[in-house]
């Protein structure tokens, strides 16, 4: 079909097959003053796809705060950049590879990692860490094991080989992801502030260079696939999944960084989604110039590829660069050393157009402004739905002991240790890893060579978070909590939160309630990012995560980056013997706890619909300042955020490493067992009230004084001991060894 009429005018049917609507096709014809041919239509359709144009979300994304004193680059480039002092900057971004990973878990996940790494090193940064956020269907779904194993192998397959440590993330399971898993990969890189590279093309007549792997037929029109819902014939889409080659990725990384040390190169961009199309269009349009490419010069892996296929291929490990005139030979030497293809494929022109030539014929001639600026921005209808359900005494489980409840929470797949997963990733290569999220709430890597004499160096801390239950039950409040939890994880690790990358994963935005989840959560994220001074500097949107009309849980993932000015101030999460545990931020008068939307509710009640724990961002910020002050005064020995599962499970996590015990000091109202009080008891132990942190200290008196002078509520839980038993007086005793066994062995038992 394609080859015969590729240079003829495209029909409406063909355009619609490529994902354009009738309206969009008509707009294109009108704006360019002709009916586009097949190749041109393919290019327009890719640029207009949700993946490239953000047409459903653009209106709302614009409202996010994106600037700040230390923001060097906000959204709109390959990745965001923040200043961390000492002429150093951190480059980071998160990106989804959801649809390909469901079709081919290994390749989908591997190329997700490869793609996000290129986004970071294309800016001149050496990647220093990888994170990933994964969502799978329920454990009992036979596909889950296959998908999880494939995705984990794929992430490791790429990250391990290229030699960048994978240092954290999160994995959750819910039936809504049964037929639509989520694979969000985040990369963090380090760059010298004066050696950052951007994508805007410049210099009329300057050569356009193609480097990296050859172009094949893999991933053709992947951006469009990523913008469509799944149906039962998903299997037939396999050819649209790209194939990754981490070895070539490694060579490309080293070659690009070597070239960037010279002054031969002006700008560079990864050929990511929509391959050569989006990279050439975006580079030229950002530079306010045009671009002319001779498709016969593109290194091809397969014979007889059409202009359409070449432009829409998403073959991996390729970059587009603009060099200074005359720099071609010197640059070529570097790529030859690394055995990579290097081809001069065109030049920068004055006229703001993309002109493509093949076999001496013009096969595409499109105005650039139109492709970038006139891509649609939709005002989709939306309705923000919230749940007002409240749990009362009759919803509370009465038959089970505290012991049995806590064991069930710990062995829940959404709470248990994901060690079985993360041990399959190389987390210590590059030698700078400090915590992979098992020793502290945030993942931490040292800034390479930042130590000097007595000073032990500084570090970068990263946290990724999303609690979909909260978003589902209240998109706005849920959005705020997601940001706050990420920030809290950094704070309790001794870091200063700086900026955010987000990955907004949702269902079909054409449905009002799904659009409401998108709009609501962006509103919440906006408010929290403003209040907590963490601007959004990069991100990605993944919509149409639906199969046969059933949407995934709303999953707007936040990846937050912070800095630790002195690695000796890092706070770890494991308490030691004979330390006093306090809840910081807990109002002792409000001990009824917030069980709605909790993990407790998810496990023990029929559903998890309900109100979302309220969050006061001003108080949240005060809490951060307080924790930072305590840390500056060496009062904190260890700290852990209270999140999924509530107080008791999170406190037990702090006791696991050294197998400690504690005698819990219960609030007066629940000191004496009483059936009427069960709601309060369970609420206190398992409620997920926000803005609370558990800390351990050897200086309880100083802590109490600080809390008075700063007016922050604290509550003393008790002193750790080496009995290995958590005593809840008059209720139950919990064995830490049993907890440890369930915590560590649940996931291996499920998946081995």
């Amino acid at each position: 079909m394609m080859k015969k009429n590729i240079n003829n005018e495209c029909t409406l049917d063909q355009a619609m097959e490529m994902g354009l609507t009738e309206e969009e096709f008509k707009l294109i014809c009108k704006k360019i003053g002709k009916t586009p041919n097949f190749t041109e239509t393919g290019i327009c359709s890719a640029m207009f796809s949700e993946h490239c144009s953000y047409k459903s979300s653009k209106k709302w994304l614009k409202t996010l705060p994106t600037s700040g004193d230390y923001v060097i680059q906000g959204p709109g480039e390959n990745a965001g950049i923040i200043d961390i002092g000492d002429n150093q900057a951190i480059v980071f971004k998160i990106e989804s590879h959801n649809h390909p990973s469901f079709i081919d878990p290994y390749q989908g996940a591997a190329t997700g990692v490869g793609g996000i790494l290129r986004d970071v090193f294309t800016m001149g940064a050496r990647p220093i860490a990888l994170m990933n956020v994964l969502r799978f269907g329920e454990i009992s779904n036979p596909l889950t094991n296959h998908l999880l194993s494939g995705v984990v192998k794929g992430i490791g397959g790429y990250g391990n080989c290229i030699g960048i440590p994978t240092i954290g993330g999160e994995t959750n399971f819910n039936q809504s992801y049964n037929s639509n898993i989520l694979v969000n990969a985040m990369a963090i890189g380090l760059v010298k502030k004066n050696k950052i590279f951007y994508s805007a093309a410049s210099g009329i007549g300057n050569p356009v260079i193609y480097v990296g792997a050859k172009t094949g037929r893999d991933g053709i029109h992947g951006a469009t696939m990523a913008s469509a819902e799944f149906s039962d014939d998903t299997e037939s889409q396999k050819p649209t999944v790209q194939v990754g080659d981490p070895f070539t990725g490694k060579l490309l990384l080293e070659a690009c960084l070597e070239l960037m040390k010279t002054d031969l190169i002006l700008s560079i961009q990864d050929m990511g989604a929509a391959g050569l199309t989006s990279s050439s269009v975006e580079m030229a349009s950002k530079g306010n110039v045009g671009i002319k490419i001779d498709l016969d010069e593109i290194p091809l892996r397969e014979k007889n590829m059409s202009s359409y296929e070449i432009m829409l291929s998403e073959s991996q490990e390729r970059m587009l660069m603009i060099l200074k005139k005359g720099a071609e030979d010197d640059a070529k030497k570097i790529f030859k050393k690394w055995d990579l293809d290097f081809a001069v494929i065109g030049k920068i022109i004055n006229e703001k157009k993309i002109i493509l030539k093949k076999e001496n014929k013009i096969v595409c001639n499109l105005p650039l402004d139109f492709l970038v600026n006139d891509s649609p921005e939709l005002s989709r209808e939306y309705v923000i739905e919230t749940s007002s359900k409240i749990l009362d005494n009759k919803n509370i489980i009465k038959k089970e002991s505290i012991k049995s409840i806590i064991y069930k929470i710990i062995k829940n797949e959404n709470f248990a240790s994901k060690k079985w997963i993360y041990e399959q990733y190389d987390s210590s290569v590059m030698g700078d890893t400090i915590s992979i999220g098992n020793k502290s709430d945030a993942s931490i890597v040292k800034v390479h060579n930042s130590e000097k004499g007595e000073f032990k160096g500084k570090a970068v801390a990263i946290s990724t978070d999303c609690n979909s239950k909260y978003i589902l039950n209240d998109p706005i409040e849920g959005g705020k909590i997601t940001v706050a939890e990420a920030a809290r994880n950094l704070i309790v690790s001794g870091a200063k939160p700086l900026a955010v990358t987000n990955n907004l994963n949702f269902g079909n935005p054409e449905k009002k309630e799904i659009m409401g989840q998108i709009v609501g959560s962006i509103k919440g994220i906006k408010e929290a990012c403003e209040e907590l001074y963490t601007p959004v500097v990069s991100g990605n949107v993944s919509l149409y995560n639906e199969t046969n009309g059933k949407s995934i849980l709303p999953t707007p993932v936040i990846g937050m980056v912070g800095v630790i000015d002195d690695i000796e101030k890092i706070i770890f999460m494991n308490a030691k013997n004979n330390e006093t545990l306090f809840i910081v931020g807990q109002d002792e008068n409000k001990f009824d706890g917030f069980l709605q939307s909790s993990l407790y509710q998810e496990i023990f009640c029929d559903d998890f619909l309900g109100q979302v724990p309220p969050i006061n961002l001003k108080k949240e910020k005060q809490l951060y300042d307080f924790i930072t002050k305590l840390n500056d005064n060496n009062i904190i020995n260890s700290a852990h955020d209270i999140s999924d599962g509530g107080l008791l499970p999170c406190m037990i996590e702090m006791l696991l490493l050294y197998k400690l015990g504690i005698n819990i000091n219960l609030p007066p109202r629940i000191k004496t067992p009483n059936k009427e009080n069960l709601l309060f008891l369970h609420g206190w132990l398992f409620g997920e009230d926000q803005s609370r942190i558990i800390i351990s200290t050897n200086k309880p008196d100083e802590l109490m004084e600080f809390s008075k002078s700063e007016n922050i509520k604290i509550y003393c839980i008790g002193k750790t001991n080496n009995t290995g038993v958590v005593e809840i007086p008059k209720y139950d005793s919990i064995c830490i060894n049993k907890c440890l066994d369930l915590y560590n062995n649940t996931i291996p038992n499920l998946f081995s």
């Binding site: 080989c161 070895f247 190389d426 210590s428 290569v429 030698g431 400090i434």
Partner: protein, 224 residues
């Protein structure tokens, strides 16, 4: 103390080794690109970990045909010291500078975690002498093909000669290697291949400092 670090396309622990040796010896090691053919006068050649040539065909197989290998062989025949870590170990078995072969972990998964290796009672070797036999060193592993295999006769020979340098603890063998072997010496004790990464337990921010002990001892032994 002159140390060479051989870099192949796909090596990825070259910088880590560089930092470790620089920190401990206070001297700068030299990177040697795999196409170089003239490497002389080094006290130690290190072949670092990574995925040379993508580990395509077989781990270490393509690297073992690189131009630099001839010089490494020459260095070995002069009795020079060679340390191969992880993928470097695989390259040394592929070149037959060390006996045996490394196959897929028995669990069929890549594994990365800290573990203990136990120093064995070996023939004279700069890599092990200086440690009391049975010393435990806490050093991380990170590999997919670390399952060391030799046939029964060769294993007997290794044991008889004292060529087994390191073993994993009984019941904590991560990869199914024969005799829990984690590291093997050449017949003259001058070449060591090991799966664990001592360069990842050198600095104070690492989980252990036992890799520092390993390198300190090695440098002392080589200089003495």
């Amino acid at each position: 103390m002159r140390v060479a670090i051989v870099v192949f396309p796909g090596s990825n622990c070259d910088r880590d080794i560089f930092e470790a040796i620089k920190f401990i010896s206070k001297k700068l090691p030299k990177f040697i690109w795999h196409k170089e053919t003239n490497i002389e006068n080094f006290d130690l050649i290190v072949i670092p970990g990574g995925f040379t040539f993508g580990d395509y065909l077989r781990c270490g197989a393509l690297a073992s045909n690189s131009p630099v290998i001839k010089s490494i062989r020459d260095h070995a025949s002069r009795g020079g010291a060679i340390l191969g870590i992880c993928n470097g170990f695989q390259i040394l078995t592929e070149t037959k500078l060390l006996p045996g072969t490394l196959i897929k972990n028995s669990v069929l998964k890549f594994l990365c975690h800290d573990l203990n290796v136990i120093v064995q009672n070996t023939l004279p070797s700069p890599f092990t002498w200086g440690f009391k036999p049975n010393t435990k060193l806490n050093i991380p592993i990170a590999h997919n093909e670390g399952n060391y295999y030799v046939n029964g006769n060769e294993l007997k020979k290794l044991i008889f000669n004292g060529q087994i340098a390191f073993k994993y603890e009984e019941n904590f063998n991560p990869n199914g290697s024969v005799e829990n072997i984690a590291g093997v010496l050449s017949e003259n004790g001058r070449i060591l291949g090991m799966m664990p990464h001592p360069e990842r337990s050198v600095f104070s921010h690492h989980n252990s400092l036992d890799g520092r002990l390993f390198f300190q001892n090695l440098i002392e032994q080589l200089l003495s």
